[in-house]
Symmetry: C2
Subunit: 218 residues, 2 copies
């Protein structure tokens, strides 16, 4: 199946305008048909040995969101201690999640025992199943952006808080807790770039030819 230039440009537009959304969420619910399209896109991620180790838990309950938010606040407080001086003050001012504002939460998990102990392609690199589930997160994120829906990944929370709130068994790994919802608009740059936390790296410095080369700093 051929992809036309116009279709290619739509993919690039989506990739470049995808953001990690933390505060522009609107309360409008996501229609069931839209949610199903997004999750089907996630389900079509690549997976090692075609094991499809992911599951998706959708969360609308305010009680569950409140438990997740509480877990975030605790982990955020612990993290704060790791920054010093001005950096700590800057960190304090950042809005890093929209757990309760977003109408929907989606937790993405990884069942490492799915399809049995020996998985084609995981025999040499055991983390490949976790990486497959991350590919599903990125498919979900881009599909959501293509639906003009914002997604924010909350990583400042202990896995056990998510596990308890969502009754996830011990043998299932937690990959991501995502806040999902329509937004007023998408910013043209990442929040952390605009806040002066870190700059966008020049892509040229990330590309090496034939083998690893240290940046020349010239």
């Amino acid at each position: 199946m051929n992809i036309t230039e116009a279709e290619r440009d739509a993919v690039y537009k989506t990739i470049f305008s995808r953001r990690d959304v933390r505060r522009e969420f609107k309360s409008d619910p996501i229609p069931q048909a839209v949610l199903e399209r997004i999750l089907l896109a996630a389900h079509h991620a690549p997976s090692v040995g075609f094991m499809q180790p992911w599951d998706f838990i959708t969360i609308q309950s305010p009680i569950t969101k409140s438990a997740i938010k509480k877990g975030f606040l605790q982990a955020h407080h612990e993290s704060l201690e790791q920054f010093e001086g001005d950096r700590q003050n800057q960190y304090k001012r950042l809005k890093l999640e929209g757990i309760e504002e977003a109408p929907l939460g989606i937790c993405v998990t990884c069942d490492r025992s799915r399809t049995g102990p020996v998985v084609l392609g995981r025999t040499t690199k055991p983390e490949m199943d976790l990486f497959s589930a991350v590919c599903a997160v990125q498919n979900l994120w881009l599909a959501a952006r293509a639906e003009n829906i914002g997604v924010g990944w909350v990583s400042i929370i202990h896995d056990n808080v998510v596990r308890n709130a969502l009754k996830i068994p011990e043998n299932i790994d937690i990959i991501a807790y995502l806040c999902v919802g329509y937004v007023d608009s998408f910013h043209s740059t990442p929040d952390l770039e605009r806040a002066g936390w870190l700059p966008r790296r020049d892509v040229k410095s990330a590309i090496h030819h034939e083998y690893w080369q240290e940046p020349s700093f010239d």
Copy 2:
């Protein structure tokens, strides 16, 4: 920036027609401008704390590809021992890589020490930087598909073989070795599904509402 319905459909078309390519590679070189677009898309993946921990090494040298192929063959031979009976015979017959046929290899790495020891959003979940680099792989994969270019992820190879062949320092993690090239056509289903290795899971069984629920098998 609004995404139109036609643009959204182009994104879904790309996601659903992306394949892990192992044998349909043509030798046509990838134009520099196309490669730059694909790598820029990868560079616009989400990253924890905006640390952008990835690097991309492009490989065209037949000598390097030959070293990678040799590493694959060794790991493939080791993996073979883990399968038994019919499954082992089936595994033997699968073509799992196109290292030497693909005109281009791309290695994606992760520098976990980039931007210092404390990374916003990694303080509670330390694997977030590796996951960011995987998001870059998935952006790259979809951008390539949108350019009608095939990508195959070679995970049956020891990291140290890739490290030695590409002179990657010890402190840099290896995420993926990708085979990249134009193809005659993309199959409509994954190779492993067509070969009867594993079936496509029903997406419904992957979706849980509000909390984890065991499949009902009804």
